[in-house]
Each structure stands twice: as structure tokens, then as C-alpha cells.
Symmetry: C2
Subunit: 361 residues, 2 copies
């Protein structure tokens, strides 16, 4: 390992190709040694670069204790992303990893500021694929206005992973004059708004997997919602709940809120926007769009006097152009979601109980 000649010494079993001469990830990229440093410098820092990453320490120091973020609370959220395939209509795992965590932080009402990103790479992954994903992360982070300030790279042997998993953790700032918008804040009389059509993400991914048997012209809705949400909070400052209907879909997310708040939520099937192509794909496969994952939608639960203002501001935003009022909150039946169907009957909408679409995020 050490040498008096300046020539490289024998260093045990190793993967000796420098990054510039290899097109695939090898175990050496996860060694913590020179190959890891080369990968960080030529790929991660090249695309994600900022002073926090360039400091070269195992941690990032962040100016959260100073103006304008000098009072309030810290918001923290984490998600692993294991979606398959890595690329799908409307997005890729990189955009998803940034938006998923930006959105989770934003649902508290907080302003997302910083992300960390940890990569688990499977040996044999092409460097070009990784680079496309990291570029996409940078674009999504720029759109959201967040910095990726710390990261990690591990490599596992071929067959012990699946190309690429990305875990992002987000830090946001909740000014002290903002109150929290958790799922326990829904109140009888509140109005339930939804920022747009459901099911796009799940159907786009199924289509990319070739599981539809036909090509659906559906793009994933994956998008950072923080700017939309800040606009909603400005127009409707007494908003009670913000939540994104991701895994488990709208049905599961509404059930979570009903249980956390101990209220009943009544929704109108006819009011819930679903694109015709998504509806057709669901009918073909026997799926219910209420349970299909979304990655760029938000449920907004507001007191009635602010509902119109919230809806108007959502519709002015590109990610909320098709926003709709889909229901109301009532005291009873507590912890339940009831839907009036297009046939006029009433049905209990249950939480997803099995697995509908594995690895959708």
C-alpha cells in the first residue's frame, strides 16, 4: 500500500481502472479511496457542486441559525427511492428522489432548503446512466430552489442490488409564525381540494415497464410542489392539512388524514379529476385510480372561507391548473372516508391493504 518509489504498490484485490477509463461502476467506486474520490469529483460535484459539497468533509455546515432563518422549527424528512425502471415518461429516479423529499418537507408548510443524497449503486451500472440521473437531480433541485449539500456512495456486487437506489433526506425551515399542517389538523366543515388529476405517475411507470400491453400517452406528474404550496399558504393562511397522495394513492392518504384527525371525509367521485388515458388503463387492468401513486399532487384541506382563494391560486400555478374541490370534512363517521359514486351510491373507501404496484417510487 505504501511505496518509496512513487510507483503504485500492490494493494490486494482491486479494480484498477480510473473513472475516465471505465464506463461502468465497479466495486472500487465504493472503496472510500481514490476511485470514490474520482467519482465524487468528476460526476457528483461536477453536476451538484456547491460550497457545501466542495468542502470535502463528511458533513455539511448550514447557515440555519442566522437570518432569514433565525427563528422557528426545523423540518426533516427522508425517503429511499427504488423505482423500476430508472427512466419513465415524464421523469426518472433522480427527479423523483429530489421531488419526493422536497414535497414531504413542503407538506409541513415548511420551506425546503437542503437535501442530502445517498446512492447505492449496483456493480455494472453504466456511468452514463448515473450521470443522466444526477443531472436530472440537479435540474429538479434548481427548480425547487434547494441545494444538495451532502452525499454518500456505496457499491454492491452485481445481483445484490438493482442498478441504482437513491435515498434523499430533506431539511426545511418552518418560520415560527407558521403553524404546522399535519394530518391531525382536519376539522369538520373544512373543504378538501386536490391539485390535479390522479394516477398519472403509476400508469406512466406501468407503461414504461411494458405492463399495459399498449402505450398509454401518460406522463408521470413528478414535480416539486414547494412553490405551489407556498402560494396556497399565502392565499389561504389558515390551511389545516397539506398532504401528497403518493404510495397507496388518494384513497390511502385520505384515510390517514381521517384517522389522524378523527373525522369523516366525504368525497365525490365525479369531482375527482382522472385523465381519460389513465381511466382507460385502469379499467383494462382492473385497477382503481384512487389507489394509484401520484408524485406531483397535493391534497389541501382548508376552512370553507379560504377554499375559493386556495383553489384560485392553485389553478394559476402550472402544477395546479386542473385543481378541483373533491369533498368535505364532517364529524362523522370518524376515521372513515366515504365516497358518493357517479351512480349516486355511497361507498366506504378503504386503505390499500396489499401491494398494488411494487417499486413505484
Amino acid at each position: 500500500m505504501t511505496t518509496t518509489t512513487g510507483l503504485p504498490a500492490f494493494e490486494g484485490p482491486m479494480c484498477p481502472l480510473p473513472l475516465s477509463h471505465t464506463e461502468r461502476i465497479v466495486l472500487g467506486h465504493g472503496s472510500g479511496g481514490r476511485m470514490t474520490h474520482d467519482l465524487i469529483r468528476t460526476l457528483f460535484q461536477a453536476h451538484l457542486g456547491n460550497p457545501y459539497l466542495e468542502a470535502g468533509n463528511d458533513f455539511a455546515r448550514l447557515p440555519l441559525g442566522i437570518e432569514p432563518y433565525s427563528e422557528g422549527h426545523l423540518i426533516l424528512s427522508t425517503d429511499s427511492h427504488v423505482i423500476s425502471p430508472l427512466f419513465f415518461p415524464g421523469g426518472d429516479i433522480g427527479r423523483l428522489a429530489v421531488c419526493g423529499t422536497v414535497n414531504d418537507v413542503s407538506m409541513s408548510g415548511a420551506i425546503p432548503l437542503y437535501l442530502t443524497a445517498a446512492f447505492i449503486l449496483e456493480e455494472g451500472l453504466s456511468i452514463e446512466t448515473l450521470e443522466r440521473v444526477v443531472q436530472s437531480m440537479r435540474q429538479a433541485a434548481d427548480e425547487a430552489g434547494v441545494s444538495i449539500v451532502a452525499g454518500d456512495t456505496k457499491v454492491v456486487e452485481k445481483g445484490k442490488g438493482d442498478s441504482l437506489f437513491i435515498t434523499t433526506t430533506g431539511v426545511g425551515w418552518l418560520p415560527s409564525h407558521y403553524h404546522l399542517r399535519g394530518g391531525e389538523q382536519a376539522r369538520p366543515g373544512d373543504v378538501v381540494l386536490l391539485s390535479g388529476p390522479i394516477g398519472d405517475h403509476g400508469i406512466a411507470v406501468l407503461s414504461a415497464r411494458g405492463e399495459l400491453g399498449f402505450e398509454a400517452e401518460v406522463k408521470s406528474d413528478v414535480a416539486p410542489l414547494n412553490h405551489l404550496i407556498q402560494a396556497v399558504l399565502k392565499a389561504a393562511p389558515h390551511t389545516h392539512v397539506l398532504r401528497d397522495p403518493t404510495r397507496g394513492g388518494l384513497a390511502t392518504t385520505l384515510n390517514e388524514i381521517a384517522q389522524q384527525s378523527q373525522v369523516g371525509i366525504r368525497i365525490e367521485e365525479a369531482a375527482i379529476p382522472v385523465r381519460p388515458a389513465v381511466r382507460a388503463a385502469c379499467e383494462m387492468l382492473g385497477l382503481d385510480p384512487l389507489y394509484i401513486a401520484n408524485e406531483g399532487k397535493v391534497i389541501v384541506i382548508v376552512p370553507p372561507e379560504e377554499a375559493e382563494a386556495a383553489l384560485a391560486v392553485m389553478r394559476q400555478h402550472p402544477y395546479g391548473a386542473e385543481a378541483a374541490c373533491i369533498g368535505i370534512v364532517e364529524a362523522q363517521p370518524a376515521s372513515r372516508v366515504i365516497m358518493r359514486t357517479t351512480l349516486g351510491t355511497h361507498r366506504v373507501v378503504e386503505t390499500l391493504s396489499g401491494e398494488l404496484l411494487p417499486r413505484i417510487c
Copy 2:
């Protein structure tokens, strides 16, 4: 998906066993629906429970903006843990995931406060194994004095992962009267201290893999170093650098510091503590202990006038009982690590350039 009878409706392909009736992870545990909730409630919350997790939102709200943490900086660090096997002498992936991130945050001089934990589970993983790992995380978190405040669970198909990967992200607080202890702070004249023997973690993991051909009586040193480090900073407040020699070992970490600070680091081979069993295993396998990963050791670089105090306080701590002074910092040769060997010759100690021991952390 919905039902008017109260009976479960057909919900497409699913894994219908509730957690209490299954002993293995199935894809449904990653659905975001009822099985995910059951897993969170009966396993993660049962062991890691605290008010942040129990709030049931996708984010944690943390009192960082208030006393006693009302001024200073936030420190953020993340690591994915893919170690194989999951259990090894002296530790397991859970203890490693907590300690690894606690230590990375601590190396800034900060007080670690909060962790997030994201799990990627392979279908078929036994629930009992997962429970043992989560219990171990709780123990390590309690020892370190940190809370695990947010989490995530994803499940991948059998053969697309390897039992269990855990990504932890840590948040620490650096009071404003503390200065940062980054790798760029080493100064000529400084003394290089090491908190104890090197190579224990790597050799313990190799032994657990059965790759030694004999049973080495070596336990991993995996431990949270935050309390030790706070004691060092009290005794030696002008400490310049703190860094843990993990992947790539002592040699790689000292090279990182030498490059960041543009200084030469001279070390004495005879002064570097190595347990006889580690030395014997390394000789047998043709490995150099300088490149073997550690998970409970810290390099402390201090001005000479505080070196004795720092060493004394380390030796009083259980995780620093065998601390030693191993070298000094000089102006030249810049960016180089030079070792005087036990034979009296001088050798350049290089950065690890290939992969020595894959999946050691």
C-alpha cells in the same frame, strides 16, 4: 378497492397476510398501505418510538430554533449502509448505521441530535432479523443520546437487494462559539492523536464472512464517539481537526487531511496501535492495517500545547483507553503522508486506490 359491505374488496395482485401472521417481509410491506402501517406501528415505532415518529406525518418537526439550540449552525451528514453480513462480532448493521452517522456529524465538533433512517428491505427478509436490527439501532441511539425522528421503508423483489440496506441521515447543532473542525484546519506543528487500535472493524467483518480461514478473536470497534469528542473539545478547545478513519482506513483519511490542509503529515509506524490478532490476520491475508476500515476511532489533530490534555481525556474514556500520539503535522511535503517504519526507513503512505474489502460498511 372500495366496498359497501364492509368486507374487503378485491384489490389486484397483493400480499394479503397481516404482519402478525407472517414471518417474512413481502412486497406488501412496501405498499404504503395497511401492511406498511402495521410494520411501522408494530416494529419501527415499538422500538424507536418517540413523539416525532408517533405524529404519523411524512416529516418530523424539531425544536432546533429554540433554547438551548437557539444560535449556531446546523450540521448534516448522510450514509448508506450495505455491510455484509448483517451481524458480525461486536455489532450489526443497525448499530453501524446509527454510529456511522452520529460519528460523521460529531467530526464537525457538533452535538448530534436527530437521525432519520430509511430501510430498503429485500422480499423474504425475516421479520425477526429486522426486529433485532431495529432494537440494536435503538440501543445505539440511546447510548449516543439521539432520537430517530423520521423514517421510510421500501421493499424490493427477492434478488434485487441483499436482505437489508439502511440509510441514516444525522442532524447536529454546532453552537456559534464552536469553530468547525474540518479536514482543512491542520497546521504545521500540530500533533496527530489516534483514539485506539486500527483495523478491528474490517477484520471482525472478514472473520464473520469466513474469509480468514480461522477465527480471529477480534470484535468490531463500532461505537458512537460523540461523548468522547465532546470531552476532547472541552479539554482541548483549540482542536483543529477531527476525522474518523472509516472506509479506506487511517492511510486514506490522513491523506484526505493532508490534501485539504495542504500540509505534510509524518507518522511513526511503531506508535500506531494494532491488536496482535489484527496484525496476524493482516499478515496472513497480505493486507495492511493502515487501509482497514474502523468504525469507532477518531483522529484528533491539535496544537502541541493542548495535545497532552486531549490524550489524557481520551484515555479516560472507554472508547479511547488505548489512545496514542502517532505523528505530527509539518509544512512539507505538502499533501503527503510520510511514515517512519519500524525499520527506520521513510515511506510515502498513499491513498487507497482500488477496493480492498467491499461492503465493509
